[in-house]
Amino acid sequence: MMHLVSESITYIILFFALYVEVFFLITYFEFREADFVKNATGQGRNTSKFPSVSIIVPVWNEETTVLKTIFSLLKLNYPKDKLSIFIVDDGSIDDTWRIIQRFSRNKQIKLLRKENGGKYTALNYALEFINSDLVGCLDADSFVHPEALKRIVTKFDDNEIMAVTPSVKIFEPRGLLGLIQKAEYIFGIFLRKVFSYLNALYITPGPFSIFRRSVFDKIGGYRHAHNTEDMEIAMRMQKNNMKIGNVHNAFIYTIAPTSLVTLYKQRLRWVYGFIKNAIDYRSMFFRPQYGNLGMVVLPAAGFSVLSTIYFFGSMIFSWINSLILMIKEISTVGLSFKGFNFDFFYFNTDIIVFISFVAILGTFLIIVTSRGLAEEKNKFGFDSILFLMFYTMLAPIWMTKAIYNVVFAQKTKWR
């Protein structure tokens, strides 16, 4: 009976997972061509038509990376009189404030300082001083590609577009975790593209998402939003029928956590934030008036957390079972090597094998496509292999803890 229940759950989950994968792939290839043609024609515009842009850089104890972040902004290929940078020191207790003083005479840069109150308060504080056409944010652990802003700005030619998201990549990925995250972020570039085609972007990433200034006038400033203000603002925009676009070749490079502990903390904050925001915005789930976001993307995101945990749980369960069996065997007859049996008869030919095969094939297609979007040299890399091998084992760790925290009302911290 238990076996039947778990088997049914597995197939239902597999069906939905496959449905979502097929849906995303169909969507991508449905819109791709039209989108690429449109992008190509949008290049080469008159300088006088560039909108004014303000970039907020909220900093808190970021003495080591803040300079690089600001220099990358100054190197942006964008008319200088149209671009201003607001650095908000959110009550740093290290040397950050002193270090950024070197820009005090730079006309493009304005330095602001306030008492520590969290990232969203720093953003809102800077917004008070800003009245440019567009406004964006760049975390002090990220750097921009020189052409990123120009590419993003063209998207605002469409009057309906209220915000534009870039493509985020890992800055100089190192080590096992760095490579896994590199592949993960590249995978994310595909998803963001598909979500934008579906008009279902529900995150405007902290690094360099650009908004029309009017967005904040209409729906208010940033909120604490369980430490994931970049997700909440996007969901609030979607709820107010504001369109969010994506420019996949506007590249932003962000420094990835290098240790498992910092990665765990970051992801715990993200997943916890997602679940809490999803609960806050639950009225958008399965509501046709919120389009693909309400009907597919948000439910799929929630479902992916649960299904990842379910599969991880059943994997651990079956590992423990075979381990117990192995221990029993060794304790009964000692260790003996049986050799491999390559008889076709013993190949697993369950339904799940064939479906997993198709699902993995789809994942390969997504990886190859996303690497194309990310302008990577190789269509498939060592990092993709590491990602496929290890990500499904890493993610359930913070996902499980995030669910635990939500259920038992434990709050996550930024650091």
């Binding site: 496959l18 969507t27 449905e30 046709p288 693909n292 030919t349 198709v358």
Partner: protein, 239 residues
């Protein structure tokens, strides 16, 4: 916000087609495996029938003519494959039950044939008359059956000449029930029948060797052969 219900439906269709194909493929291969088992069973049946016929045809058959091929070699392979199938399809699967019944009958026939050989030619023929009859249960009432299974698998791989006949005690097969009553095997599993003597409860590899002294003989012989080999190789090296 616009929704393309048509696309939702198409996606559902594609996903369903993938699922149905997967189910079809899985069934196809599963049927292929069942057919393979059936083929092995019929091959064994022919083997046994051939040996039996040979045996009765030439009542004067010289014991020397009974070679190693007299008894079917595929019985153990069949047992493994059947156990694997049972694990995958479940022990209540009708097809599995049928195959298992047939397998049990073949084992009994093979056992009887071996007994006949043993009677006429002594235990030195065919497979040294080495055989074990093992009764188990899959119904969760036999906690030691799993362990006993490991022991017998180990013995079978160490001593290919040992014939292990395994029977599901609860299998609904009248011939098997007759066998159980002939040897008076009680429902205290695992039960092992060696040379007309029934042993109940878990028996380790050492216990089994005690009950089957022939295995110890084989061990000794192997050790001797190995020592001889070692000697030979060391003498060739010194040359």
């Amino acid at each position: 916000m616009e929704i393309s219900w048509k696309k939702y439906a198409y996606t559902f269709l594609i996903t369903a087609v993938i699922f149905i194909t997967a189910i079809y493929l899985s069934n196809y291969f599963s049927q292929k495996k069942i057919n393979e088992i059936k083929n092995i069973e019929s091959r064994i049946a022919v083997d046994i029938l051939a040996s039996e016929t040979q045996f009765s045809l030439l009542s004067e058959l010289s014991c020397r003519d009974i070679g190693s091929s007299f008894l079917s070699k595929e019985l153990a392979i069949l047992g493994d494959k059947l156990a694997y199938t049972e694990q995958n399809r479940g022990s209540d699967d009708a097809e599995v039950l049928n195959l298992k019944k047939y397998y049990s009958l073949l084992q009994i026939k093979d056992f009887l044939l071996m007994q006949k050989v043993k009677e006429r030619c002594g235990s030195n023929q065919a497979n040294n008359g080495l055989s074990v009859m093992y009764f188990y249960s899959n119904e969760g009432d036999c906690s030691d059956c799993e362990k006993e299974g490991f022991v017998l698998t180990k013995l079978r791989s160490d001593y290919p000449e040992l014939r292990v006949y395994s029977f599901d005690y609860n299998l609904d097969l009248s011939t098997l029930q007759t066998l159980v009553s002939v040897y008076n095997i009680e429902n205290k599993l695992p039960a092992i029948l060696i040379n007309d003597k029934v042993y109940y409860g878990f028996k380790s590899v050492d216990d089994m060797k005690k009950a089957l002294p022939m295995l110890k003989e084989i061990d000794k012989q192997k050790a001797k052969e190995e020592a001889l080999k070692a000697k030979q190789s060391s003498s060739t090296k010194s040359i």
